[in-house]
Symmetry: D2
Subunit: 432 residues, 4 copies
């Protein structure tokens, strides 16, 4: 996570200030519950809410001494709350607040990421309908295949990001979990009621069974989902990069007036945002493996996951938020050269109709193999000698002996390829 690729709204969730604030709330809610149970005086709980406060610098300086962040925090709080501070954190272990806090933070970042995806979906839907009927060549292996529409391309990504949003909603459930169960999860020194109370107060679910910590398979799953979302970002970014190639020139990222493409070549307009998204996707994805390695903590816990999470949690979430916002902007402002799309569709001299011709030959009685051979022979003459496919076909006796010239003419019809666009749009958007 670096400033260049971060947005304040997201990165602030990972600030120390935000973290300690959540800790304080957890401790205060826990005191409420303990007071209700009669374990600590009600006045203590009141005091925590009233006087509980912290200073990040002070905590840091205590930590240098005690080498334990939670104890440093509690010491600083005690400085504010006074003698009744001894009732704070009773029966709890550090992980009780660390893990519950992480749950709150991850829930909040999930909410932002879900919003990000919703914003992206709105843009993709708008642009998909805008280009529902913008004819564009479909490409497999980077080679012209058959026509499709740019709207369908966008609809495909829309659908993928909708799945991503649903996955993220599931992933949020995985980690929106509270555990306050003591040193080895037995509630020896703290009643389960405290956990229930805090979880409700912080809008989390309780962990049915924790060790000292919330099990890390939940977090591994969460980061894995971020990795998949990042991969979907990369797929769309790669599509833009391809379509912006000089020779293809079907779309172009917006380019502000003052922007400069190259320090050496003033003529250039590069898809740098999409390329950047490709790199950012790698950064999000790289967090998946350490998150999975973190699952295998020793016994009731070891602390190896801690340093990992301090880095990957901000890195993955801040980067993905930035990437989704950037992608949304790219798609929102994307310049679409539909005339060039049409030029490219025509580039292969009619070869895009080859399959339809082959099917017509088969329908006329030829075996699949013979039909394939006949069509391939003419197709290769188009590709290698630059001839026109239609002209070749209507002069090929072996073909015209099977299907008439009139029939061949009818096969060369672009609407043949777009007749089901509405069907697909209805499937994707529920309207067309």
């Amino acid at each position: 996570m670096i400033l260049r690729y971060s947005r304040e709204k997201m990165s602030s969730i990972w600030s120390n200030k935000s973290k300690f604030q959540i800790w304080l709330e957890i401790e205060a809610h826990a005191c409420d519950a303990q007071a209700e149970l009669g374990v600590i005086p009600k006045s203590a709980a009141v005091a925590v809410w009233k006087h509980g406060a912290f200073a990040v610098d002070r905590i840091n300086s205590i930590e240098i001494d005690v080498k334990h962040e939670v104890i440093a925090f509690l010491t600083n709080i005690a400085e504010q709350v006074g003698p009744e501070a001894r009732f704070i954190h009773q029966g709890m272990t550090s992980s009780d607040i660390l893990d519950t806090c992480l749950a709150v933070q991850l829930s909040r970042v999930s909410d932002i990421l879900i919003e990000d995806l919703n914003a992206l979906l709105v843009v993709l839907e708008r642009r998909a309908f805008e280009h529902k009927n913008t004819i564009k060549i479909g490409r497999s292996h980077g080679i012209h295949a058959e026509p499709t529409t740019f709207g369908l391309t966008l609809a495909s990504h829309y659908m993928e990001f909708q799945r991503c949003r649903d996955r993220l909603i599931n992933a949020r459930k995985e980690i929106a979990i509270c555990a306050i169960s003591g040193a080895v999860g037995t509630f020896a020194n703290i009643d389960p009621f405290v956990e229930e109370h805090v979880s409700k107060a912080m809008a989390l679910q309780i962990e049915p069974i924790s060790t000292q910590i919330i099990p890390r398979d939940r977090h591994a799953m969460f980061f894995a989902v971020l990795g998949v979302v990042a991969s979907s970002v990369e797929r769309l970014a790669t599509e833009i990069r391809h379509l912006q190639r000089t020779e293809v020139c079907e779309v172009e990222e917006f380019f502000s007036e003052s922007q400069k493409g190259s320090s050496a070549m003033p003529h250039k307009r590069n898809p740098v945002l999409s390329e950047n998204l490709t790199g950012l996707a790698r950064l999000v994805r790289m967090t998946v493996n350490p998150a999975m390695e973190d699952v295998v903590l020793w016994h009731e816990r070891d602390i190896s996951h801690s340093s990992v999470e301090r880095v990957i949690a901000p890195t993955a979430t801040v980067t993905l938020d930035f990437a989704l916002a950037r992608l949304t902007e790219v798609m929102d402002k994307l310049i679409v050269y539909s005339a060039n799309m049409q030029v490219n569709v025509n580039k292969l001299g009619g070869l895009i109709y080859s399959q339809r011709v082959m099917l017509a030959l088969t329908q006329a009685g030829l075996s699949r193999e013979n039909a394939y051979t006949l069509v391939q022979r003419n197709a290769m003459a188009v590709r290698l000698e630059g001839k026109d496919f239609y002209n070749l076909l209507v002069t090929d006796k072996e073909i015209t002996s099977e299907i008439s010239v009139e029939q061949i003419k009818g096969l060369f019809d672009i609407s043949y390829h777009t007749k089901h666009v509405d069907t697909i749009f209805n499937r994707v958007f529920g309207r067309s």
Copy 2:
């Protein structure tokens, strides 16, 4: 995927024979639909069901020539079906059968993996109840913390594998998807009805929008889930390995009469199954990254994912199935040395009660910091000088001035640590 770590039931799903059989069924169902639409003669569909057959060797030998597996398959089928074979595969593209077949295979392996997890859950539940009250030290950082029970340890893993099962059920939904939409997903040459018909016949859902292929974010998600499950396998395997250490000796993998532990050291009984599971987990996990890279195919598709999936799909699923079965056997037959567990609990001379003593001091009016310091001072004397914690406490004036010897005595009570075991079991198993 290698023989040594595979089970027939699972690996057979990935055989060529199984694959071609599914292809044939997809083609035959598609013919039914095409015949119903009147696109091909009913007799053709009948012929495919009646005469459709293949020989793996023959397909392989044709493929050497045409360098295209699906065309080789269709050629071989045509040899059996005769002239009406020309109606097979009409308007379809290779990916229509490749991807739909992969969906069928992945659904089947999912079913097995879900069964595997169910079997594991049964064993874990049985053993958890068996050891519900078997006292065992809880360890954080590998260091004795406070007592727990071995039943709780097993319940924790039970819960984790239940989450794994639920994730796998979700993952199955991600990939149980049929797409028959033609060369670039426009249904130009094939009616959407065919897709609907085949998807029902093969018990799959339709892909709302495909390009040439089913989008690979689905598969990435699937493999990511396998990676998480593998990590959970490794966590339990690592627990066993730790508990079997010579110095700990709380459990031991079963060891058959004829088994040999070491070629050089006849006395050894090693947790080799659990170590093996640790390695197998790495193998499953390594497939996650390529699966995510596969998402980013170019335009309507490129074929780079194909070689990846040919390897990772069998590797990840066969290995995980083997691992789950092995883990189930290990847990089923695990020898539990509960007497040694008790010995270990006592090892720290009462230090496991340190937190309770600290809490009692705080309740008695000491500040958290002072209570901590007093307890830590005595605790260190236990650790470094081998003294008994209880004896130290009752002779420490600063402590006895706060809490009476009688009170201290009452704090040294193991049942204090197990009083909520039933609560937790109820949460996990719905019974206790």
Copy 3:
């Protein structure tokens, strides 16, 4: 590792037969050394060489019983050698032969991979010289930048694969290591002389200090190098895929007479080999992470690395060998459309000279910023309105007031871009 992507020469190294043969040789050489030391009778060593033999099936069937592969092997050998077999493996531990055998296997595969790279280098050098002066547009961000030659492109990959070869030579040294040091590496039961003798006989270096095993940082380094080589394969494969795009059409993979590009679209010729190489690269790369996780074995060893290596060693090496051979064939037979390269160079209406114009303006006295702005203004008119760059420049008063039309004309000279081709070829190939 699957048959489809493997070559016999490489995969046979990983067969059980090959492995047991190496084991036998190690044991026999060890017997020689032990006999020389007088630890065992000379007759025993002679007997091993004379009667030592094994049957893979028999070993497998013994292993089912004893659950230990090395003991199964030794039992089978003993069946052949007779009573003197008791002198085999004296003082050795299984890892002594397992790790030394792996070293032999990895050395052999390294030799093949180095040969593969040499063969690739030969082809790349030939084709680089063939196209030393074939003008081609250079592209950054997928956008036309300035001209280069296809020979330079190939020379760049040549240089990269030369680095790969050097890395592989280093990697071979990392793992060509023999260890015969007993159960925990102390030579308690075996003299270091045995290790020295066997290492010489098997053309390996001795491990200065082993635990029970050869430390796995060596293997991690080896697989990391394979991962880098695979990435370089992917870079060249990706270049081919880009250049074969329909709109670019500068190169094409060879396409055999009988080959079929698409089951549905007979006109297609797809860069499927290069796409396949992209996928294979992912498969090689995925082995790096488990190899690194394998480094962290517990104490003197645990066996978790074993299952990992059984899979990743064949997978990574067989796949990379296949990929290198395939890439060599692709490059050997690559069809180069130099006329299309020229067409593409001209596509931007002279914009490729924009930097040179800017530099001339700067030399003439304009500030960098002003020169940039002037050139960018005209460049955008070319891009957006399809005008000719030269014609725009010579009618732009602000420009012609700085540099004359004659001077501008002189700037539009392709040889300006190729004047250092020989210099670079000399750096790369030592000749030009």
Copy 4:
């Protein structure tokens, strides 16, 4: 890279200030060369050295406008240098300074990491000699095997880190590379002499052939090496964690007076530094995969690697530096409980001599299988019934009929296991 896990010396190399300073030096050296060539006036080069200066804030604010960091930098420099600034960067492209700067930064971090390893080696050597003869049980599979010494354990890690240092020295060579070759690497607008001059001035080697950039296989190799070093860090950290377990208690991390082990359990002293190192290793390792994906840039370059490197270069190097320093401190101050090591050696009632007994039986004429069976039978009685191995052997008629009681007694001798310690130390340290 986060503050908590970073050291100033290393992190400052990655500051913007440090980066822009290197850029300035590269530009100034390039001006010297251009002036020497007569391409620009000597006065311009002098002006750059004299007036060249920048302000990080000013560059950032220009970048917001032009969206190009290098152009922002050049604009800021021009503000200081005045009109002659137009001669700066002539014929160069942004990557010329970006990549050369990265080379300088990576060289500097390599120097620090190499120093770090040297410091670690010094500590490991000292402690290895200190404990050369400290008897300790060797463990395979976490199970007691045969005795070794703690010095040998340390020597093994010493040797591994020596290999790591050598790898790092190689890795440094990979990336200490200068490229100044213009927009597509053809030197069209800049003479190769500039590259030569700058590379000498910055103590780098020239890149024989660059595209627009220095090829990323070099960087992939560099990060892969960091990943291997991190894995070696984790191996030693894991050893410490194991040895500090409560039941093992052979070593302990130093623990400062004011440090607190647990907020809840005052008695605890946890190996938190080693656990932290385990996590940090995961963080370094996670950078390997994106670095490898970065190799595959499109054509002469795309910019996807840039965001990746902005994150992984600081993350991997700063984290590894911190980890190496922390590990050095841990090893330097490690508390070794040699008495406990001796207690543990004795724990198995003599079973550590089982191999020696088996060998003696074989020497006496028993077959390997029979010897194994006899020894295993007695060994199991020790393990399961807690009996003493020696006592069992001398009362086992089948054994004493082969070897005498006297002979058996002689086999139970610890010096048998340490006789080659000097040999090994000589191999590792060149002295013993």
